[in-house]
């Protein structure tokens, strides 16, 4: 909440949009926890990009003689495999570092695809109304009727494993969420004066939707997207956990947790560390996006 709006002095002066944006960014920066989280997210991204430079080992190099080697600080561990080794003697730290790529790439790709589709569908439904709205809204209802994981599992079974297929399987349903947000916002915005004005001036529908309406409803969409990204990362991990994720030996955190599950009684580190990685990244995204939301869109709540 921006405090100025909240003070009962009713003294808030109208300000230009840019200064609001600047104030929002300032509010965001003032939120120390959110800032730290944003830094953590950036670190994860950098780690993903620089994986070959920072990972101590080839993530897929197996060494059966290091099978289930414990982390460095435990008996039998060594600092060249700081977090220990998995069932094939692969370095867990390196696999976590490479796994960052999968999580972030899938998270970002799904959100990008879903948000693009969602924005277009939502704009069309909310602005054009009529049968377009009916058709899109029905489709949204139908997709919402499927439990997310079941839908994704079914699609993965249909399309087979693989990176692109995971992105598609998740995006097929994920777009519904930005779509609903955009549709709702568009319904309100289309009645506003400046949109009326543009219509009166004979602007095309496409122009009105993309140039007049879209920029004004973007901030709730961005906020929703960042929150959903955290969610998608967990979903990808869940799919991998159920054995429907990326192809091995590609490291995916969810698959690492799943693989380690069988060894958890005697080799707890195999699934614990990738789980911590998921938690850290998702938590950082969530905290940062909550900070964004508080700064940009005080009225928005999940």
């Amino acid at each position: 909440m921006s405090t100025a709006a909240q003070s009962p002095t009713e003294a808030a002066t109208p300000a230009a949009a840019t200064s609001i944006f600047r104030r929002n960014m300032r509010d965001f920066a003032d939120n120390r926890l959110a800032l730290v989280s944003a830094v953590v997210v950036v670190l994860f991204v950098l780690m993903a990009l620089a994986a070959p430079l920072v990972a101590p080992h080839d993530p897929n190099a197996t060494d059966l003689f290091r099978r289930l080697q414990p982390p460095a600080w435990m008996e039998g561990g060594s600092w060249s495999y700081p977090l220990g080794a998995d069932a094939l003697g692969r370095d867990i730290l390196s696999r976590i570092i490479y796994g960052t790529r999968i999580s972030i790439f899938i998270g970002a790709a799904v959100i990008l695809v879903a948000t693009t589709i969602g924005i277009l569908a939502g704009l069309a439904a909310g602005y054009l109304r009529g049968w377009t709205d009916v058709a899109i809204s029905r489709l949204v209802d139908i997709l919402l009727g499927f439990p997310y994981l079941i839908f994704a599992i079914g699609l993965m079974a249909m399309m087979g494993p693989g990176l692109v297929n995971i992105i598609l399987a998740l995006a097929y349903k994920e777009w519904v969420i930005p779509c609903r947000v955009v549709r709702g916002e568009t319904l309100v915005t289309r009645e506003l004066e400046y949109v009326e004005a543009a219509r009166a001036l004979g602007a095309s529908r496409g122009h009105i939707m993309l140039r007049e309406i879209l920029p004004n409803i973007l901030s709730p969409v961005i906020v929703v997207s960042t929150i959903r990204m955290a969610h998608v990362i967990i979903l990808e991990a869940s799919l991998s956990f159920l054995g429907l994720g990326v192809q091995p030996p590609t490291a995916s955190w969810g698959a690492m947790v799943a693989d380690g599950r069988a060894f958890i009684l005697e080799s707890w580190w195999v699934s614990t560390f990738p789980g911590v990685a998921i938690l850290l990244l998702v938590l950082a995204i969530n905290v940062a996006s909550q900070g964004l939301r508080d700064a940009f869109d005080p009225r928005f709540s999940e």
Partner: protein, 512 residues
């Protein structure tokens, strides 16, 4: 507030006290999977049969060393190559108190083998397990005669897979009722089936005692036997370690040490009946060359993988048959681990710079396949593992002669009967269902066909030994190993040992 506090404390305490005590006479099995149905004739699932087998007896059975014994039959004989007579015991009761007759046995077998006999136009999915049975009828009071349309020496080996039901009961409750009710002649009768959770059985006090050849002949030792469904292997192990269950199946190799080190539990193993191998697609240009196939065989260090990943719980094989199987050729040389030789062979075949291939595998064996792939890659056979769902790989690789896609397939074939025909024919006959390599050798085909109907055991064994040698020479597969089935058991358990067909028969099991 304080009152609420106290209530909370009390309930918390109540929640933390131990579960109801396990009685000495209750034997609990931590089991991987629930039964699909309780109808012995209406499933195709091994676990389902394991459960059912404790409530239903068969005409014949096996002991834990796979020896066949008459069970509900007193004896049986082969009248001619196509006719078998089974003399059915008298005085055996079903759980509902009615007497089991030869008529029930004939009814049971007809229900399985006749088309549409399950009612509603449906045929038993177990029909194909009964081979070329033409008719089943009662002759001379207590004798059931099974007539085959062609000689099939496997019949006695396959009959332990079928359990006897009561004709009256089936007619009363119908096939649908059979799915959830059990009225067998077995040592335990059904108390309750909690779907997905547990199957609770209690001792059938009027049990006739079971197969004469498998002592003790008596009612079951424990009062109750319970199958608890615990699919997660770590949870299953945990349940064993904490004493909640007394037997667990599919103990993961890496948990063996833990179970052994825990006081009160121990590990039991038995050679399984499932042979693991890698099929190389011979329709593929690369693998059409025997030198490439041999190179693959030389590149895999089976002992290393058995030792490191399977915890030593497997036996390497040089042919398709399990070491325990009838007709196993013990003289086979096999391909030793020799990566240099592999590279030489590749070079000879025209691939001095190695080859790029994929290895298809089902998710459950991805680790092992990954290890195999690393070894292959080290030897110049750059192998990418591709994990697929079992059913999709089946479609891709079990084409029965239709064109196949893919390079290599890490797979296995189970052979519960341990009779060579059950594994040799489907995997090595031209265009057979399990012939994923696309291997075609008319000479071998002829030999296998001949062996199938050969009734002289010694003769037949020799034929299979020859067949194994013939196949090994062509190397359509890399024969890997037969893993042991590993069980974790409580030290309180006696009178039970694991059986290669992975049955868990609890008739003689006792707890102290």
């Amino acid at each position: 507030m304080t009152k609420l506090h106290r209530t909370l404390m009390v309930s918390a305490l109540a929640l933390c006290t131990a579960a109801p005590a396990v009685s000495a006479q209750e034997l609990v099995v931590g089991f991987t999977r629930d039964a699909d149905t309780l109808d012995p004739a209406n499933h195709r699932n091994r676990e389902t049969e394991t459960v059912i087998r404790n409530m239903f007896d068969g005409v014949l059975t096996r002991d834990s060393s796979m020896e066949i014994h008459p069970q509900l039959a007193e004896s049986y004989e082969q009248v001619s190559p196509t006719v078998y007579d089974f003399h059915i015991r008298e005085g055996v009761q079903f759980h509902d108190g009615t007497e089991m007759t030869a008529g029930d046995v004939a009814f049971t077998l007809r229900r399985i083998t006749e088309e549409g006999a399950m009612g509603d136009g449906q045929t038993s999915p177990r029909q194909s397990l009964m081979g070329p049975v033409e008719s089943v009828e009662v002759v001379e009071g207590n004798t059931v005669r099974v007539t085959l349309s062609e000689p099939w020496p496997l019949l006695p080996a396959m009959l332990p897979f079928q359990e006897v039901v009561s004709q009256d009961f089936v007619e009363e409750v119908g096939t649908e009722g059979m799915a959830t009710q059990a009225n067998g002649t077995g040592p335990f009768e059904l108390v309750e089936w909690r779907r997905g959770d547990s199957i609770i059985m209690e001792r059938f006090e009027d049990y006739y005692g079971g197969a004469e050849g498998i002592p003790p002949v008596d009612t079951a030792c424990v009062e109750r036997a319970i199958f608890r469904i615990i699919p997660e292997s770590a949870s299953r192990v945990a349940a064993l370690l904490s004493g909640d269950v007394h037997i667990i199946n599919e103990l993961p190799p890496h948990s063996v040490a833990q179970v052994e080190n825990n006081s009160g539990t121990e590990v039991m193993t038995v050679n399984g009946t499932r042979s693991f191998f890698i099929a190389m697609n011979m329709e593929n240009e690369i693998f059409d060359d025997i030198r490439v196939r041999q190179a693959v065989a030389h590149a895999i260090d089976r002992d290393l993988i058995i030792d490191r990943i399977l915890g030593g719980n497997a036996e390497a094989i040089n042919g398709i048959l399990s070491p325990d199987a009838f007709g196993k050729n013990d003289e086979l040389e096999g391909y030793d681990y020799d990566p240099e030789r592999a590279q030489e062979l590749l070079a000879e075949a025209g691939y001095p710079d190695g080859i790029e291939v994929t290895l298809d595998v089902e998710g459950a064996f991805r680790d092992t396949a990954q290890a195999v792939a690393s070894l292959l890659t080290d030897a110049g056979i750059n192998t990418q593992v591709s994990v697929g769902e079992g059913t999709m790989l089946t479609q891709q690789w079990r084409t029965e002669g239709e064109p196949k896609t893919g390079d290599m397939y890490f797979t296995s074939w189970g052979n519960g009967s341990l009779d060579p025909q059950g594994i040799f024919v489907p995997t090595h006959m031209t265009d057979a269902r399990g012939n994923s390599a696309g291997y075609a050798n008319p000479e071998l085909d002829a030999l296998l066909e001949e062996a199938a109907v050969e009734t002289d055991r010694a003769e037949r064994a020799e034929m299979y030994q020859e067949a194994e040698a013939m196949a090994a020479a062509d190397a359509p597969y890399v024969y890997l190993w037969v893993p042991q089935d590993i069980y974790g058991v409580s030290t309180r358990l006696s009178g039970w040992s694991p059986s290669p067909d992975s049955r868990i028969n609890l008739h003689d099991a006792c707890l102290d």
